[in-house]
C-alpha cells in the first residue's frame, strides 16, 4: 500500500523516467490507527483512574457532654443494632440489648446474610411502629476492619435505608461479641 514515491531506481540513461503524478503521498492508515489507539488509551486512563468516594456524615460532636453522649431515645421496635466484630462477622439485635426483641444473632456480610436481615426489618418495622421507618445503629468494634465499615455503609445504600448512624460500641456489646466468638485479635 505504501506509495512513497521513490525514485525509480537505477537511473538508466536510456529509460524514460516517468514521474508519478501523486508524488510524496504517504499512506497514513497505520499512523491514524496508532493515534486513535493511543487516544483511547489516554482517554480511558484519565477518566477511569479516579477512585470512588463514599461520603460519610457523622453527627456533630458536642464537647460539653464530656464523653458521656446522652442516650437518644429511640422506640425499641424501630432500631436494629449491628455490632461489627472480627473475622468479617456481624452480631445484630433488634430492640434494646437488655431486653431485645430479637437477641443477638451472628451473620456475615453476604447477600444472604446481613442484606436479608436488613430488607426483612425494613419491611417489618413500618408495620409494627405505625408507619415509621427503620433506624440502623452501626457499632464497629475495635477489631473490625475498614472493609467491614465500608461494606455495611454500602449495604445501607443498596437496601436504601435512610436512617443510620455510626456510634461508639459499649462494653456490654463487646461482651456479646466475645461470647459469640467474633472478637478475635489476629
Amino acid at each position: 500500500m505504501a506509495e512513497l514515491n521513490s525514485d525509480s531506481g537505477g537511473g538508466k540513461k536510456g529509460g524514460k523516467v516517468r514521474s508519478k503524478k501523486n508524488g510524496g503521498r504517504v499512506d497514513l492508515t497505520a499512523m491514524v490507527d496508532l493515534a486513535f489507539l493511543l487516544i483511547t488509551f489516554f482517554m480511558l486512563t484519565t477518566s477511569l483512574n479516579k477512585p470512588q468516594a463514599m461520603d460519610v456524615a457523622m453527627p456533630d460532636k458536642n464537647k460539653d457532654w464530656n464523653e458521656k453522649e446522652p442516650e437518644i431515645e429511640i422506640a425499641d421496635n424501630r432500631s436494629i443494632t449491628l455490632l461489627l466484630g472480627s473475622d468479617n462477622k456481624i452480631a445484630w439485635y433488634y430492640g434494646q440489648l437488655a431486653s431485645p426483641i430479637t437477641p443477638p444473632t451472628v451473620v456475615d456480610y453476604s447477600k444472604e446474610g446481613i442484606r436479608q436481615v436488613l430488607l426483612e426489618k425494613k419491611a417489618q418495622v413500618p408495620k409494627v411502629s405505625g408507619g415509621k421507618d427503620l433506624i440502623v445503629v452501626i457499632r464497629p468494634s475495635d477489631l473490625s476492619v475498614q472493609r467491614n465499615l465500608v461494606d455495611i455503609l454500602d449495604e445501607m445504600k443498596i437496601t436504601d435505608i435512610k436512617r443510620y448512624m455510626i456510634s461508639k460500641i459499649k462494653a456490654e456489646e463487646v461482651e456479646v461479641l466475645k461470647t459469640n466468638g467474633i472478637y478475635n485479635d489476629k
Binding site: 499512523m31 475498614q146 472493609r147 454500602d154 443498596i158
Partner: protein, 218 residues
Amino acid sequence: MGKAKVKRASTTIDMTAMCDVSFLLLTFFVLTATARQPEVMPVDTPASTTLDKLPDDNLSVITVGNNGKVFFGVKNPEVRKLTLKNMSAKYGVGFSEEDYEKFKGLDEFGVPFKQLRALLSLENDKRTLEIQPGIPVDSTEETSNELYHWVQQARLATVEFNRDQETKVKNYQDPGPMKVAIKADAEEKYSIMNLIIETLRNQKQNKFSFVTGLRQEN
C-alpha cells in the same frame, strides 16, 4: 476530439486531516493526563458500589495503611505550601524557601513534624515507606495530635488561598471549603480509623469520604 479517458478512482483516501485531528487529540490527552507518581505507601482500598468520583482539587487525603501508618497530603500545591507555612508558625520550626518549593512537590508524607525537614532534604526516591513512621495521631486536640493540626491548617490555607484567588483572578469560582478523604486499607483496624474520625469530628469536619474501589452489587 480527445479520446475519452476513463478515470481510475483511487481507493486510497487522503488521511492527512484525520491524522492531524487525531494527533491533536492525542496531544491533548497526553498533556491533560496527570502522570501518576508512584505512591510511597500503596493501599488496597475496600470496594463499594458507590459511583461518585473523588474530586481532583480542593481536597486533602489521609492515607492509612501498613498497620496503622497515617500519611497526609493536600492536592493543591499552592494550598500545600500555605499549609506548611501555617504549620511552621504553629510548631515553631523554620523552613527555607527551597524547602517550601520541595514541599510543593511532595504529594503525601508520613513523618512527625520535627522530621519533615530531614525528609525534604532527601531525594525523591529515597523517601521510602521505611523511613516514614507515619503522622502522630491521638484522641486529643493538643500539638501531640499532629494530624489534627495538619487538617486544620490545610482547611485554613484553603480558605486563604480561595480568598486570594478571588482578588487575583477574574470570575474565580470559590470551590468552597476543603474536602477530606480517608483512603484506608481494607484490613485496617477500626481502632485507628476511630482515632482519625474523632480527630476530624473534634474540629467539626463531620463530613468526609472514604476512598473505595468499585464492585458489583452482589
